[in-house]
């Protein structure tokens, strides 16, 4: 019985971790590559969830489809956000204090507007596969976990290919390492960063849809994800996609085991505790060199 419970927790943790990778992916680009501490990233994920909820309720569209359809809008918004951030803070070298407080303020505003518009009730989406479960022996896999896992894997793979194969993608990886060299290659760092933040915010449209497929969402849920996603990005070695996936799976599994054996009320502390331990002992990440 103990073993069955344990294996089920591990499988659930892997599915959860795959989803966490999708949530952390955008932050891995912004925080890891661009050095923009977008603490409001989870808040954008929540906007993605509410978009899925609204479109699902009014038009009955599939939440995942909504997520994909809305990526261009989120992309454009992310580009605009970078413009604003660049003009207000980065150009004048104020990003460390003011930039941080700026994103904190944005996060708070998003949360309050969602509360004003939709209240603090939990919202959910409807789709045929939510609620179905498949069984392999004693291991059961609910579709509301499996679908987000597969979608997350697809999105992470696509972003990985884009970053490693295309010119713009490689420029994004380069912009943080050597700005001058990038300029010599004929790429405008500001434009590259603009596209990068666009992509990062675009991922939140899909990640948000996945979040609301997994379970009901209310505006303050985003805050719990701050610890998780920052833990994942820092553990994963700041900006490495493979590191992000590994760290996400790890945190997913640990959280799932803790929730199974000690009760779900302890689960939120897992991500944050791992984050604190990482900062204290391995700030360069699991695979990074000191």
């Amino acid at each position: 019985m103990g073993l069955e419970l344990f294996l089920n927790a591990v499988v659930a943790g892997i599915l959860l971790g795959g989803f966490y990778a999708a949530v952390a992916l955008g932050l891995s680009i912004t925080f890891g590559q661009l050095d923009i501490v977008n603490i409001a990233h989870p808040a954008f994920v929540i906007i993605g969830s509410y978009t899925a909820f609204i479109m699902n309720e009014h038009f009955g569209l599939d939440p995942l489809l909504i997520g994909v359809l809305f990526t261009p809008i989120f992309f454009i918004f992310g580009m605009g956000l970078y413009r604003f951030y660049y003009v207000s803070f980065e150009r004048t070298g104020q990003e460390s204090l003011s930039g941080l407080a700026f994103f904190f303020g944005i996060m708070f505003i998003i949360e309050v507007i969602l509360i004003l518009a939709y209240g603090v009730d939990y919202r959910l989406v409807e789709a045929d596969y939510i609620g179905e479960t498949i069984h392999f022996g004693f291991i059961s896999i609910p579709f509301r976990m499996l679908v987000p896992f597969l979608a997350a894997a697809g999105m992470t793979g696509a972003v990985y290919l884009y970053l490693s194969k295309t010119f713009t993608g490689r420029a994004i990886l380069a912009v943080a390492q050597d700005r001058l060299a990038l300029q010599l290659m004929g790429a405008d760092p500001v434009k590259i960063k603009q596209i990068a933040l666009g992509i990062a915010i675009a991922t939140t449209a899909i990640a948000g849809a996945l979040l609301i497929i997994i379970g009901p969402v209310e505006p303050s849920v985003g805050r719990l994800y701050i610890g998780r996603v920052f833990a994942i990005v820092i553990l994963g070695g700041m900006g490495s996609i493979s590191g992000t996936i590994t760290a996400a799976l790890m945190i997913g599994i640990v959280e799932s085991i803790v929730a199974t054996f000690y009760g779900p009320s302890w689960a939120p502390a897992v991500g944050f505790s791992i984050l604190l331990l990482t900062l204290a002992f391995r700030p360069q990440g699991l695979f990074g060199r000191a």
Binding site: I39, L97, A101, G105, F108, V112, G227, A231, L276, L279
Partner: protein, 317 residues
Amino acid sequence: MKAPLLTFWPCAIAIFAAGFIFTLIADNEFYFFASYVVLQAVIMATAWNILGGFTGYVNFGSAGFFAVGAYTTIALNKAFGLPLPFLILAAAICSGIVGLAAGYLTLRLKGVYFAIATLAMSIVFETIANNWEYVGGASGAYILTPDDSLFFDSYIELLFMLILTLAIGSAAVARYMSSSRMGRGLAAIRDDEVAAECNGVPTLKLKLISASVMGAMMGVAGAPYPFFVTYVDPVSAFNLLIAVNAIAMPMIGGTASWIGPIIGALLVGGAQEIITVTISSEMNLLVVGVMLVAFITLAPKGIVGLYQDYRKKRRRQ
């Protein structure tokens, strides 16, 4: 902005006396409740600014430090029934240690890690409070206010005078820290940490002292809170608004001097009380958020900075 020693203390005593007279003449208890909230914000903003404004390290977890203070009061009050001054002292020590620990773990790293660590700490503490049955767990704890309110008409008047005293004390500490030799070291850290270290400023030591003082001060602000609200649960003690206010008020008032956070706290805190009563508490949250973002982008030096620019312009004319 440096008020000479001769004018700071007379002003402080005058404010204290004015507060005392206020307790004698005002009848409506609402004024004391509202003033308490604003003065608590003054302490929180002043505390935040000691690290955030003077050295440039952002603390996102102010609510966590505040709640550690509040929960120290609840736990010690339940266990031993200590009098309030001891509870405040104990809360200061506990939150100070938390500040020191957070600083020790992350202040050697880049500033953002400290910011994220404080946020993480706040959530870890909230989870612990949610699961700690002795102090009420997720459902919260009730605190009985003592019957004895000294020579004041009611207990809220006592609390009002207490928080006024603590606020003046916090301002004195912040003022001392900014105008002393230590303050110059802190300012050097904010401007260029590497250069400061090279010039012999003991950066880590100064940052750790600031982090401890910040934590202790926030604990002090949280310590009387259970007696003020008489019912504390994790949602209220760890409220995000506390953390947002602690950042927004110094940013709006101006982070460079000790007076900035006080101006910010009085203005924003006062406006919040009015908006909460006249419109709604959600609208009050939105106003703080928008003001924070507006000031950061348009007037990064805050109200004090705007005033200084204005004076400079006039002098030139």
